[in-house]
Symmetry: D2
Subunit: 412 residues, 4 copies
């Protein structure tokens, strides 16, 4: 039974005629496929975006959707677009929510919303359906993104709105002969794309316990990583990685390759308790080998090429960017201003960074740039005979003048 | 020859009658000891603070100072005070300048200034002398700290003001029969206390080159660290570590012990190009095993016990704290306000954190607290049946309302 | 008919047995008094807080409540407490939401919530009722405050939850013989206390039109204000006004007196379009003669006694304080940290400020303080012969070093 | 006698061969004209920028310079450029240093530096001379701007570097037969352009005393302003005023016209104690009729067209912009990022603002915009039947969830 309608964008059965379902091919959305037809008596079109989920077989997903009764099944490889227009912004923003989470899932959502709104328009769908629960962030990002891009669209989220628990789903599947045997009944809830993978639920919900080692897919636990460090070189142009070990490649290819290399060394595991948008704290595990490696290098090169004034304000802007992306406010005009600030700051973030990968850690061990403010062209300012030490005492006297005055009065 | 006087706090020979020299016992200040007597024709008193420099022998330093002609030689063990009133503030502020440097040297300076001003007052000294150059941060921190605490004091910094180069110093030593043979003529310039060690100059000045492995004293390079991880437990009370592996100990003892444990695992090496106060960038290497381990744990516990609103603003305040401490503005009244904010935020940062040390990385793998906002007492809010999923859509509708409106207008 | 329950803190009839109604004595809550008894079949106790609403007669309100069937009628003069523990914080925080609104209503709500939670506890009430609509800020501040202070309490907000429109209310009043004839059927919705008065709705909802002059009660429109300026003196101690024209008085008395003086000169009218918590913009008119006068003087004295570093960060903290107070998050721990920061910054904000009141404007024309960083005791630093002009060029060279380096590279 | 050289950019006599003097035509620079030829034995070229100083006669200034021996005398009308590329940025940034000063002089300096560097290059000058003292802000802005734009240039600032007091100047003038009789020997030091006028020194240095009324040139003291209010309409496009009372005009013309109108009503007088870059506080009086009027209108329209998220961050960015401009760091790359952020935020700041001018106060009394987020097109969201009140309680429950949890634990 549906909970009463609270938001205007919710659709009750009978109110919509054609539904676009965000279809992953997994158990939840497989059941939803039938469930929506059954409950809402509408046609269903599916949309599956390939953002680099490991092991996804696009053809199979498409066939499955059609077999389950989809009027049409859109399957779109959006990896390149995801890298170039979403991940690239996150790199330039050194994006780590609460200092740790590279926002892998979070920045995929607005892209999904964009395609969903476009296809709904094209196909005449009047509602978008998705499998998110009512306790997480993704419902916020999806609902907010969809109604922002097209306020006429309704949203159907049966797991949330009809409280579809796992047991209810399995009953429903049995009753409707939906084959679920081959689905791994994991205790974890996961999401993945080329920028990282998130793992939650199950025994991870106890934040005092170390996560088990078998939950990782992209990274090898440091203890089992190679005993020899590996040094890679990342080349950046205006803040974006353009080459790995001197091989130019498209950003999504570079990330995929780096996931393998850095994952092998156990880079990018994150264990954190984070503040969800809806007010809960939750314990989350992430593995993001390429993301952590690239962000480490980018931040280093950025500091190297930016002035002390930029380096002081940029982290504040970066934090705000991460919060807005996490909060599902990707399409707010503030993001436009933040991106404009950040793009400008990245104009000189061009150069080479050497990163050493070893047993779980990515460490910058060398950086160079034609725009480095510590650069050979400027050696004259940094070598003994040219830096003007005589200026220092004048500087210090004025630099500390008010602090001194304040202290005298305190004493006086 | 002295450069012309720029700041009012500089002393020319003849202007002062008794000098307090900040005396480390190293080559530079050994030479300065004689040099000041020679050039300024004044009595000299020395002050040596034990902040936990590895290998310092307080008795030896005292004898050396007296032998070199010091009227008196103050040697003070300030480790406990340093930990409890300076490092403790840095821990609560998650203090990392430009995201990397734990400010080990920077936060020692105000304590040195405090003792210097007090002893100068007591002994009737009218000037403080120190060995800093004119290109670094320490001159700013020392000069600013001293004249803030007592504006009547003058400062003598011969290395800066008379351009005493290494060669000039050696000539002077030979001429005055100062034994320098046993001093290691390192190419590096270092500074150390229990909160960490900094290494700069020499081949490190090329930021594109990896630092050599033999520069480290406190940390073993990860490649040579043990093959087995070690898990430690830190207990915090109001933001301050009070026990290590369930053994209560004073903060300075805890830090010293943790330096050994974490250092063995290669924790705490930092390679960065930082923005100095005087406008230069410089490449710095730090090793801070205990600092990095404690800060990792503290930040995790803080996020666990603070609300999303606190967690969003605290990093901004922490950054400001780090900048003020780095900039030599420790005694500015702003620091009082920042510390008040930070102390209040740390009132509930009480609990246990498990940290795994392995091959250069300290990772939090578990945390618990009676004040955790993810806590068993509150399970009712976080478990399925009690978190109110029905509230979510109402939340989302209002949360995204303006973003949606803005987007419609853009389109319209 | 009640809308379906969305939040867990909402009470349906039958779920609660004794209700505490926030009772203003106005039309809305007069009707609610009867309506709740009728619909929820519970006893009702009323609570009326005197925060300085002009023209409130406490005895009359009490009698009215009892006559309408209240089991008990609490009437509490909280003006002194409001001034000393709520307004005082707002003054120290220079609190102006979005730069204009002194938060008069907003900071009264947490005090009302505090009394409501206390009396509900004492009287065994299990729900609080109030007359707020579902579109405004006050529902957020009241609901959030109440459930924060006591999560076991339910909230009844009939105007929001049963969509009680003005017409429905009048019908109900007629049916139940509630005399409403003497209530002025204003087109405006207002709220007032000693810190100010808000006016909204009606023709004010067109933000392109000038508000009519007859809406003001506390301030005389500048055009009709006296032709002669009046200069007053405010004395502050640690950020709080303690004397007006050299007469010491309690803060609430001082504010009441200043409302008369400054109101006579047309001070404190605010016309703004503000962002409500729930995502709407609304056009609001405020009149706050004392608030604007005091804030003008306080900000001036604060800048006079604080260092440049404090003066740069304080406005950011002040803005955050205003947002938290406006957003109904008064009881969030972040407010504790903000108040700690702000209290510390106000420790030296002691002194005299002369303010000229004339035709709608309060202008600071003189300030003095024993802690002024522009003070006679420090004249030596600020007069020609003692400020060290020789230090300036050294300062400038280092101050602009990185900017210069960055520019050279741009060119090079 | 020259003070010893501290900064590398200072020139001693003999080190430079051709000097470009920033020449205002006033007493100081008239004397400097001769003094430089006398002391530095160089040719002198003069540069005078017309930024709208009231009463400047360009022809006369030019003749005077040539008569005093200038090799060439550049006189440039830069009012349009000043308005379109400097003031426009300040408007979009709502620029008020420390909340009060519109930065009139501060933002003129980088334009002067730009012309100075260009003409020095073209004419083969190797030094720029100016008349600033060593205690103020302008020396920082000029020196920093000049050496940033061309690090090869030297700077000569005789008033600072040779301590030229008023008496010394008068002696010098007499000795060299420089006619000074017709110069008003004001006790005040002033600077002016179309964005405002600053007045300092003399009796104004006592911050406890009201400034005398006869110091103002652009504004009539409110007491003497007309008894009838005047309402004007400003039309903005992307943050920039393009029409006054429906008459389109160039920005510099609009400002000049508005200075007359708003000045007549006593708008724009500022009395403040501000923190100078060099660490001093100083009491400054400004009069900026057009600036204050335009900024009042701009801020209102900006809030009207931007989302709550933008409205919360923009003031922080604006403050930073003002500080950077005030601090003489106009050419730092951070300004590029700030301007990019601010330009983006102003893209929708288009519309009409009605401002009432009366006795010293400019008040916005109406605003409208096709992009207003409070707009007729969106009325459906703001009127009773369409704003979804049912969403509010869901919103409130999640909005206050962590605050509530934190409070329970505090109690528990």
């Amino acid at each position: 039974m549906k909970k009463p309608k609270t938001a205007t964008y919710e659709a009750d059965p009978g109110e919509v005629s054609k539904v676009l379902l965000l279809f992953s091919g997994g158990l939840d959305t497989t059941i939803l496929m039938k469930w929506i037809q059954d409950m809402y008596k509408t046609d269903v079109i599916t949309l599956t975006l390939d953002l680099g989920q490991p092991g996804i077989d696009l053809k199979e997903v498409k066939q499955k959707a059609l077999k389950l009764g989809a009027l049409k099944a859109y399957v779109i490889d959006a990896k390149k677009e995801f890298a170039e227009h979403y991940i690239s912004k996150a790199i330039k923003a050194n994006a780590l929510y609460q200092g740790q989470y590279p926002l892998s899932t979070a920045i995929g959502r607005p892209l999904i919303c964009k395609y969903a709104a476009e296809i709904a328009e094209k196909e005449g769908c009047d509602a978008i359906a998705h499998g998110s629960t009512g306790k997480g962030n993704d419902q916020v990002r999806l609902d907010a993104g969809i109604i922002t891009l097209n306020p006429k669209l309704k949203v159907i989220a049966p797991v949330r709105d009809y409280d579809l628990t796992r047991d209810v789903e399995i009953d429903f599947a049995k009753k409707h002969n939906i084959p679920i045997a081959h689905h791994k009944m994991s205790q974890y809830s996961t999401d993945e794309n080329i920028w990282g993978r998130s793992i939650e639920c199950g025994i991870l919900e106890d934040p005092s316990k170390e996560p088990p080692k078998d939950i990782y897919l992209m990274s090898i636990p440091p203890e089992f990583a190679p005993d020899k460090p590996e040094t890679i070189t990342l080349e950046f142009e205006k803040g974006i990685p353009i080459a790995l070990d001197n091989m130019k490649m498209e950003l999504n290819k570079l990330i995929e390759k780096l996931n393998l290399i850095a994952g092998k060394h156990g880079i990018g595991m994150v264990d954190m308790v984070e503040d969800r948008i809806v007010g809960l704290k939750s314990r989350e595990i992430y593995e993001c080998p390429a993301a952590i490696t690239i962000l480490t290098a980018h931040k280093d090169l950025e500091k190297f090429t930016c002035t002390i004034h930029q380096n002081s304000l940029k982290p504040v802007m970066d934090q705000k960017w991460s919060e807005m992306a996490y909060y599902g406010l990707w399409y707010d005009p503030l993001m436009g201003s933040l991106n404009a600030f950040i793009d400008k700051a990245n104009e000189k973030v061009t150069g080479m960074v050497k990163v050493k990968l070893f047993k779980g850690t990515a460490t910058t061990i060398g950086r160079s740039s034609p725009y480095g403010l510590y650069d050979h062209k400027l050696a004259s300012y940094t070598k003994g005979q040219t830096f003007n030490q005589a200026a220092s005492t004048g500087f210090i006297e004025l630099w500390s003048l008010q602090t001194k005055m304040a202290n005298q009065i305190k004493e006086g």
